[in-house]
Amino acid sequence: MSDNSPFKILTEDQIQSIHQTALGLLEEIGVLVKEPRARRYFKQAGAVVDEDNMRVRIQPDIVAEAIKQAPSRFTLHARKPDNTVEVDYRRLHIEPMIGRLNILDLDTGERRRTSITDVANLVRVADAMENYHLLHSGAIMPSIEGVSLHAAHVNGYLTSVRNTGKVVKASSRGRETAEDCIRMAAVVAGGEEALRQRPNVFTTVNPVAPLQHDQGLTEGLIEYASYGLPIDVTSEPQAGATAPVTLAGLLAQQTADVLSGITLAQLVNPGTPVWYGTCGAIMDMKLGAIALGAVEAGLINAASAQLAAHYNIPCRGTGAATESKLLDIQAGYEKAITLLMAALGGINCIFYPGVLEHALTISLESLVIDNEICGMALRALRGIEVNADTLAVPVIEAVGPGGNFLGQRHTLNFLQQEQFMPSLSNRQTREDWLSRAGGKSGWERAKDEVRRILAEHEPPPLDASVEAELERIVGEVEARQR
């Protein structure tokens, strides 16, 4: 958990109870593992594998060994060295969403399919935002409008690395897809050995709740793990639908999902960096639809962070999700509450800034707005420093009764560390807001900011030979017969 994670939703006893239940689920019920190579890894480790129904039952000692092997900190090397990320189970990083099927058009406000140009713009905006550290990318998108389906991942990856100096995520959807992405990441890293030594790419693998490991993603997990590349193993339970409606039961089942995935990664390659991941939410039972912006998602995140900390493994969670179709008041409160709960709960990588409506739609303006919410959450997480300097007795004495602190050097010196400086929020008086800021809403200001970034922001260019090699790989994948 982050250094300051003041929001502790579970007691030590409750953590133990959820942990023990998860181990029991893995040993007694087991998980469905569709990928035969994965079942072989489990079998070699001594797990009870039933080949007929693909069920794998894993004993607690196998899981315990894997948890010990998973590192509690690791580094993801960015193309721009300043953007390198030290993942640590006591720090917070933010991962905005980039690739979604739909985008809310910047000019019309209408929803439409996301194109490769949109991917470029989304990545460029995320590159410019100071509170975004790890980038989801076009490589993860199963499809991109106007791009042939079997080459979406490579086109998505190329477009993404071209537009950011930050660490870019790639796809694990199937063995070949994973291999293509890793091959491209190796080109950016400067060769396969360099990639192993200095990983510049990570991926997501989702166990499918309840208790299933899909074939394609498990193939991807094996590929990434064999290179020692970081993987967030993220379960996506929906309370009441794909998990018990009781959050305790959901957490136990999710922990079983995640630990079985983490165990597989360690069996493939001991020491593979992983996150304990949650994308837990509820089903809205009046609709039969997922509710990612629900307050319960915040609770699940806070609890997940504590469980991951119990394992000394970084935790990936979610925040800033919303069911709203617009950037309206509902988007604002759902995003703020889920993000703040995840941050204060101690999540180490918060995923989802940028999304709308069940995370089916992405928005450039939302990336800008959520960056502001992230700034506030990061400030909240830093807490309040209490020492002789910050208690400021000499300053209070100098000002004395009835004075003010505006003319004190102490004020100027401590201002920027004490106060979050908003870049999007408007705090002017009504008169100034009307006369000097055009009376614009937050959404309109975000649109202006997006347009400014797209006009001005220049991500660090790729080395010409690297770019040529990446283009060659894209061409090769596009030419594959399907």
Binding site: L149, A241, G288
Partner: protein, 223 residues
């Protein structure tokens, strides 16, 4: 209250309370009392489940209530089925039969579960093939249960291609004309349905029922 009315009330309660065993027992009582099975199903099971479906549509009840009540109805119906099928006017009285599944390579089936509950509440006979269903299984089951409708769900834009593949397979096997094909799932939309030659697309469970009901009306007016 007559004995028959009493049994109808028990049947209705079993649906509202979502008790499978009560539904079976009430259905058996209806048979033992020599009640007209069609009449018993309509008043005892169909009416309350329809009301629940409408209440869910108005967001007045929760989904698990509908899913459990639909399961109770299914249990009760299975008791009455032999008697129903023995009636000459059975075929004319029933709504369509739907074979539904999530396509191969896709193990997400929660959306499909919602669709099934709504379809059952609307009076359709639904055969759930589950998730990750190989293409030949769709056709095999559809044939076995004499389905009118094949419904395919896909959550991923990669697996939605299997919807197209199944329609192509149906063309090749010469059975495309035998079934009304409806597709759905998060990445699926109207233009995809048109592109692959499906008969219909439905955005959600409510729309699935609306689309199939509209088709029923059309069929019966043509008949």
């Amino acid at each position: 209250m007559s004995k028959h009315d009493d049994i109808i009330e028990r049947m209705q309660e079993s649906i509202i309370e979502a008790e499978e065993e009560d539904a079976e027992a009430a259905a058996e009582a209806a048979l033992a009392a020599g009640m007209d099975p069609l009449d018993a199903v309509e008043k005892g099971f169909a009416e309350p489940i329809r009301n629940l479906g409408e209440a869910f549509n108005r967001m007045e009840i929760f989904l698990p209530q509908l899913v459990l009540s639909a399961a109770a109805m299914k249990a009760g119906l299975s008791v009455l089925e032999p008697a129903l099928k023995a009636r000459a006017d059975y075929e004319a009285s029933r709504k369509g039969t739907v074979a539904i599944g999530t396509v191969e390579g896709d193990i997400h089936d929660i959306g499909k579960t919602v669709v099934i509950a709504m379809l059952r509440s609307a009076g359709y006979e639904v055969h759930d093939l589950g998730a990750d269903v190989p293409m030949p299984n769709f056709l095999q089951v559809a044939q076995q249960v004499k389905a009118d409708v094949i419904a395919m769900s896909a959550l991923l834009s990669t697996t939605m291609l299997r919807q197209r593949d199944l329609i192509e397979l149906m063309e090749i096997k010469g059975v495309r004309g035998m079934y009304y094909v409806i597709v759905g799932g998060a990445p699926v939309n109207e233009s995809w349905a048109r592109e692959i030659g499906a008969d219909a697309f439905a955005l959600d469970a409510f729309e699935t029922v609306a689309v199939l009901n509209a088709r029923e009306r059309l069929e019966s007016s043509n008949a």
